[in-house]
Structure formats: structure tokens, C-alpha cells
């Protein structure tokens, strides 16, 4: 689908161009809300649930979603919605585990969590992986967007007499420049507010196509009766066909996908960290999963569903050579008139821009927090908790955003010219995600989980996963629930179950064997040849990993599978012992506030004093600005009583206009009360942070 279909009109292209320019200006407007990196990466942690929920919708739906799920909807029916309505199972873990841990422990990135919970080397390792993954993912995003939109464009655009040829890379460069500019200036606030527009646009466009289609075939009852019963069931077959079945979707999407999405997606986590507090983050996540995801299923799959009904009614309406991937384009073109079709194309572009903008901001956040800052600390040019470096950090944030936008485009050249690079990225991601996912999950919910467990899960788990990739029939077949073996894509979905099993088993066995491993490590330490023993173990582990790589990638069958599998387990044992021996780890210190079992401690640290859990009410106040540098604001005794607040508690004040979504707001600390009821005394720093409008009421609430 890389060739122009030439099906739009000039009005459609004008709509698209106007939309792009509007987004550029709108996004850049939010530059004034970025005073420091907390604003640039987390939007000042000030937003309300609905704005974040919409932002997550816009991020979750990419350009490719319309193409992919419409094709699935056309081919398989309502079961295309499966991956959008199976995300509830890990909600308790997220709402009361991972979300409060990342917010209260003031972690600014996933790699930072790995350092605090495990070791600095774990952070280093995860930083590299995240950067490679995110840059690659930005490239894939650009490429899929280009491929989705290019066929809708004319071959040439004529503007003021100049004829401009439209190419894939030209389209990508233009989009990249627009997204790059507004993210570089506007940061996370621009991401969130452009997402609001883009999310609304893509929801409207998808629902518009669906309802127009239903109307086109004669209304709901006609639409329903045209579709075959098997096609209307919301689940694919239990274990067939090989390429799309319910059992595969459960393990690959409902389990692995949900954990990956909620726990590992840095762009998504940064959205939740942009909410004004944990309670608001919970609301955003809940509304998103309960309501927005089912709506999104209609938005992205609806085009395919109505196309199927239209096809059943009149098969000649679509070109005979139409592929499933072209369904959304053709059905939109048939249903929407000139101008409206341009709006739908703009929505596809919006889907890409909202996904990419979040990824670029996340990539820059990792660069600033996990590369630039640690290097400066290492070079002794900055101190660990030094916040005076913010001007420089903002510069680095902006420069790195530009750099990663360019790197993302360079990745497109690589992916487009060398399909193997694209496949390698997908394989790399698919291979590394399960062990890291298990590591984060066990790290947050199992306080006994150790760095040895982490390292063995990554090295041993990946080796066992690669063996599953090489011998799918022997290793994945027995747990594939009868899914047919497809030589082209051997157990693509069921591999997720195998990967989860091997990584979990390795993690659990190593963690439960920690005492024995420590005893063995001490015994080796007492031996006069201890270093020789350890180096021999390292050499043996490296040799077995290399042997596994030869078996998997060079397809060498040097030994029987049983023996190869046994060797890999042995290597996992060596890795567990080596990491127990060398990695310094204090279980007491490194789990405190970083697992669900001590999340209260993290909450106390976040506040800096004893918690005040009394539930008060909000206070509506006017503000007065007073002199001073302290980050405290003062209410009257009566207003303090209304909020059940005490001096030293944390407070959040915002403009009373709900539709601003918390844009004009800030966090502070309660200072000494006064006697002017209905008035809050703020300082210039609060005015500059919150950009409050004189004369407007403010709403104040105690946070904790």
C-alpha cells in the first residue's frame, strides 16, 4: 500500500495542511508553562484526570491502528476489539502498587527505578535498552504513519504555481518537523494539550465513519442482519486460526501486553505522573480502561465492521483488488464527502503525532535523567540532589528532543531500506520485554526479589526464550493449547506464554534459592582460589550463551535439545551465583518505599513529614500575592479547618475553571494560618508557576 491511490480532492489537502499548521502553533503556545524539567517532562504534575485520560487515548491509538484494526475487523469481525477490552486484570496492581510507587518515590524514569531497587549497573543496562527501543519505535511510528497516509495523497501538490512531488520521506520530514518543534518548546504540557485536540479528532473521525457506515447500509437492524453470526462474536476462535485466536490474544495481549503497557511504557507512565496526584492518576487510568478503550475499539475497528456490512450488501462497491489494509481508506472515501475525507486523513496524522510526541518527550527524559545527569555526577560537575542546574537541564532536554527527532527519522531510512533492521528491532523488543516486565513486576510486588533474580531473568530467561524461538514445536507446542503450528509464524502468540513461564520460573527459583546462593558465595570467598573459581564460572556462562546464540541464529544442531536446554539452565545457575557474589545489595534499604509492601514509607518521604489522612473538603478562595521566597501558602484558620489541613501538609491550588484541566495550578505547602477567610496568601513563585489570573477564584485541596 505504498503507492498513491489519488482518491482525495484539493479541499481534503487544504484541511490537512491547515490542521498541521494549527497543531504546530497550538503546541508551541505551551512553551510558557515550562519553567523547569519537572514542567517539561511531567507538565508540572498538575493535570486533572479527564485531560490525561484523553491524552492516553491519543497516545494509545497510532496511525497504524486504523489500518490494522479495520483490516482485522473486516476479516474477523467484532473480535478485532479483543485487545481493547481485556485490560482490567492488572488494574489493582497498577492503581495501588506501581502508580503510588513511581509517584511517591519521586522516580523520574524506569531506569532510575532499576538503580534504586537493584543496582546502578541495572540502570545503565535498562537505559541503553530503553533508548534503543524508543528511538526505533519513533522511527517505526514515522514509517507506519507515512505508509498509511501516502496512498491517500496525490502524487503532486501544486501551491502558488509550484509543483511539489509527495514522497514517503518528504511526508515524514514535514510531520517530524512539526512534532519536533512543538515538543521542543512545549514539552509534556504541549503533548497533553495537543493530545486533547488530536484525541477528540480521532475519536470523532472513527465514530463518524462507523455511524455513517451503519446509516449507509440502512440503519442498525440492517447492519446487524447483514453480518454473519460467527462474525459478530466478540472473541476469535479459541485456538484457531493460527494467526488470530483467543487463547493467543489472552497471553500475548491481556497478560503480557497489559503489564508491558501499564508498567513499562515510559511515555504512558509520564502521563500518569503528570496528574496532580495519585488519586487523579487512578481516575485517569480507570476511566481510560472502563470507557475510553471500548470506545477506541469502535473507533479503530468500526471502519472494518461497516465495510464488511457494505460488502455483504454490495460486493462491487469496493475495488476487486482491494487488500484488507486498504479497507479503512476506501470505506472512509466512500462515506465521507470532500473536506470530511481530509479531516479523516488529518485524524490519522493526529494519531501519529500524538503517539510520537509522547515518545520523544520520554526519550529526552531518559537522556536527561539517566545519561546526562549521572555523567555529570560522575564527572563531579553536579551533585545528586542539586536542583540549581535546571537552566542547563532544560537546554539539554530541548536539544535532546531535537536530536532524537532526527535520530527517529534516520531510523526510518534504515527501516525502509533494510527490512531486516526493522525485523531486528521488533525481535529485539519482543525478546527483551518479557524479562524486563517480569523484573519490574516482581521488583514492585515481591520484596524478596533480588538483583541476582533480575540478572538471571534477563540473561537466563532470554537464552531460554531464544531456544523456544529455535525449537517452537518441541518447547512451545506442549503448552500451545492445540493452536495449529504455522511454519511462517510459529506460535507467534503462544510464544508469550512460554516466555512468561521461563522468565517467571527463573526469577522465582533464583530468588527462593538466595540463601543457598549466598552460602555458596561465602564458601567460594573463603577458598584461596576464589577469583579463579569465579572467573571460570563467568567464562563458562559466556561460553554457554555464545553456544546458545550459535544454536539459535546459525541454526547449528550441535547437541540434543535436552542437553542444550540443560546447559542453559546450568548457565542460569552460574549467572545467579556470579551476580550474588559480585553485586552489592542491601535488601532492607533497596526495597524500602520501592515495593508495594512499604509504599506508605514512600508516601511519608514524598511529604517529608507524618501523613495527615483526615479527609477534608475543598476551599474556594481569592489570592493575594505577598513577598517572600518560601514555598508555603497561607489560608485562614477557618479554611484550614474546612480542608482538615495542618501546617506542613501538602496543598494543591488551581484556577476554579474546570475546563482548564489544571493548566493554571501549582503544588505547595501549608504555611502559618491567618484570619482573612476566603483569601490565600501566595508568593510570586506560585503566581509564576500557576499563571493565575487576578480576580479569578482558586480552588484549594489538601493533598496529604
Amino acid at each position: 500500500m505504498d503507492q498513491a491511490l489519488n482518491i482525495g480532492t484539493q479541499l481534503d489537502w487544504i484541511v490537512l495542511v491547515v490542521y498541521m499548521i494549527a497543531m504546530l502553533l497550538f503546541g508551541s503556545y505551551f512553551a510558557k508553562y515550562n519553567k523547569d524539567t519537572n514542567d517539561f517532562f511531567f507538565g508540572g504534575r498538575r493535570f486533572t484526570w479527564w485531560i490525561i485520560s484523553m491524552s492516553i487515548v491519543a497516545t494509545g491509538i497510532s496511525s497504524h491502528s486504523f489500518v490494522k484494526y479495520s483490516a482485522m475487523g473486516f476479516t474477523y469481525g467484532f473480535s478485532s476489539s479483543m485487545s481493547y477490552i481485556n485490560d482490567w486484570f492488572f488494574v489493582p496492581f497498577f492503581l495501588f502498587g506501581w502508580l503510588p510507587i513511581i509517584v511517591y518515590s519521586r522516580i523520574r524514569s524506569i531506569p532510575e527505578y532499576f538503580e534504586k531497587r537493584f543496582s546502578p549497573s541495572a540502570r545503565f543496562f535498562v537505559t541503553i535498552l530503553q533508548l534503543l527501543y524508543l528511538v526505533g519505535y519513533v522511527g517505526i511510528g514515522f514509517l507506519t504513519m507515512g505508509k498509511a497516509i501516502l496512498p491517500l495523497m496525490p502524487e503532486y501538490l501544486t501551491i502558488w504555481g509550484f509543483q511539489i512531488q509527495i514522497t514517503l520521506m518528504g511526508l515524514i520530514w514535514v510531520t517530524a518537523v512539526i512534532v519536533g518543534i512543538y515538543i521542543t518548546f512545549g514539552g509534556q504540557t504541549a503533548v497533553i494539550f495537543t493530545d486533547l485536540i488530536q484525541g477528540a479528532m480521532l475519536l470523532f473521525a472513527g465514530l463518524f465513519v462507523f455511524f455513517l457506515g451503519v446509516s449507509y447500509v440502512g440503519g442498525w437492524s440492517s447492519f446487524w442482519s447483514l453480518l454473519p453470526p460467527a462474525w459478530k462474536v466478540p472473541f476469535a476462535g479459541f485456538n484457531s486460526p493460527a494467526e488470530f485466536n483467543s487463547i493467543g490474544a489472552f497471553w500475548e495481549d491481556a497478560i503480557a501486553g497489559s503489564v508491558g503497557f501499564l508498567f513499562m511504557n515510559m511515555g504512558l507512565i509520564m502521563r500518569f505522573m503528570s496528574t496532580k496526584n495519585v488519586h487523579e492518576g487512578r481516575k485517569a487510568a480507570t476511566i481510560n480502561i472502563l470507557f475510553m478503550l471500548p470506545i477506541s475499539a469502535i473507533v479503530v475497528g468500526g471502519g472494518g465492521w461497516v465495510a464488511r456490512a457494505m460488502f455483504e450488501q454490495n460486493a462491487t462497491i469496493f475495488p476487486s483488488n482491494m487488500t484488507a489494509d486498504q479497507v479503512f481508506v476506501f470505506v472512509s472515501h466512500i462515506l465521507a464527502g470532500p473536506g470530511m475525507f481530509g479531516f479523516i486523513i488529518a485524524s490519522i496524522a493526529a494519531a501519529l503525532m500524538s503517539t510520537i510526541s509522547g515518545l520523544l518527550n520520554a526519550t529526552a527524559a531518559i537522556w536527561v535523567n539517566d545519561v546526562d545527569k549521572p555523567i555529570r555526577i560522575w564527572l563531579k560537575k553536579a551533585k545528586k540532589d542539586d536542583t540549581s542546574d535546571e537552566v542547563r537541564a532544560m537546554k539539554v532536554a530541548r536539544i535532546s528532543t531535537v536530536a532524537f527527532t532526527i535520530l527517529g527519522i534516520l531510523a526510518v531510512y534504515a527501516f525502509n531500506s533494510y527490512p531486516t533492521v526493522y525485523q531486528a528491532h521488533a525481535f529485539f523488543h519482543a525478546t527483551l520485554t518479557p524479562p524486563l516486565m517480569i523484573a519490574i513486576f516482581f521488583g514492585a510486588f515481591w520484596k524478596k526479589f533480588t538483583p541476582a533474580g533480575l540478572l538471571t531473568t534477563v540473561i537466563g530467561g532470554i537464552s531460554l526464550m531464544l531456544l523456544g524461538h529455535r525449537y517452537p514445536q518441541e518447547l512451545i507446542g506442549p503448552i500451545a493449547h492445540g493452536t495449529p503450528f504455522d511454519l511462517a509464524h510459529p506460535y507467534t502468540y503462544m510464544a508469550a506464554l512460554y516466555n512468561l513461564i521461563v522468565c517467571t520460573v527463573v526469577a522465582v527459583v533464583v530468588t527462593l534459592s538466595q540463601k543457598q546462593l549466598q552460602k555458596l558465595s561465602h564458601a567460594i570467598k573463603r577458598n584461596k582460589n576464589n577469583m579463579l573459581i569465579m572467573y571460570s564460572l563467568i567464562a563458562a556462562a559466556v561460553a554457554i550463551v555464545l553456544f546458545d546464540l550459535l544454536v539459535v541464529f546459525a541454526k547449528l544442531d550441535l547437541l540434543s535439545l535436552d542437553f542444550t536446554f540443560f546447559l542453559t539452565l546450568l548457565m542460569s545457575g552460574f549467572v545467579a551465583l556470579i551476580s550474588t557474589h559480585f553485586v552489592k545489595y542491601d535488601a532492607e534499604v533497596q526495597t524500602l518505599g520501592l515495593t508495594i509492601w512499604s509504599v506508605h514509607k514512600a508516601k511519608e518521604w514524598f511529604k517529608g513529614s507524618k501523613l495527615n489522612e483526615r479527609e477534608g473538603e475543598k476551599a474556594i478562595v481569592h489570592f493575594k500575592v505577598e513577598d517572600g521566597e518560601e514555598d508555603t501558602i497561607s489560608f485562614s484558620h477557618k479554611d484550614m479547618k474546612t480542608m482538615e489541613a495542618e501546617v506542613g501538609d501538602l496543598v494543591y491550588i488551581s484556577d476554579i475553571r474546570k475546563w482548564l484541566g489544571g493548566l493554571k495550578s501549582c503544588h505547595s505547602v501549608y504555611g502559618k494560618p491567618h484570619n482573612e477567610d476566603g483569601i490565600v496568601h501566595i508568593k510570586n513563585l506560585h503566581l509564576s508557576k500557576g499563571l493565575f489570573v487576578p480576580g479569578q477564584f482558586l480552588e484549594a485541596e489538601k493533598e496529604m
Binding site: G97, F235, F238, F250
Partner: protein
């Protein structure tokens, strides 16, 4: 006509299999005291989480019934 294998079996697998993870999560947040049932706000969230599980299960059940019998 869709068979049991294409309709109710995937439904049962999803909600029994997923339900195990869900219940494990609910137990862990209670045992770790991450959710404090003395607080009105946390009691609200507990109800929302239970509601969400049945909301999706009932939603899927209605869709299957509609596909099979309407």
C-alpha cells in the same frame, strides 16, 4: 453458527484465567495495606475495581448472547 469453542470457551478462559491475576492483585493490595479500607476514598476504589471486573464480564456476555441469539 458459532460453536462453544468460538464463544463461551474464550469467555470462560479470559475471566477465569484473568480472574486469577485479578484476585491475586486484590489480595496483595489488601495484605500489603497499600489500600486502606478505613479511608472512604480507598473503599470507593475497592468497589470500582470489583465493579470493573464484572462490568467487562457482563459486557462480553451480552455481546456473545446478542451474536448467538439476536
Amino acid at each position: 453458527m458459532p460453536t462453544f469453542f468460538n464463544s463461551w470457551l474464550p469467555f470462560l478462559y479470559l475471566y477465569i484465567g484473568g480472574g486469577i491475576f485479578f484476585i491475586a492483585g486484590m489480595i496483595i493490595i489488601r495484605k500489603s495495606k497499600a489500600i486502606d479500607m478505613r479511608l472512604k476514598r480507598d473503599r470507593f476504589w475497592w468497589k470500582v475495581m470489583v465493579f470493573g471486573f464484572f462490568y467487562f464480564a457482563i459486557f462480553h456476555a451480552i455481546l456473545i448472547t446478542a451474536a448467538l441469539y439476536l
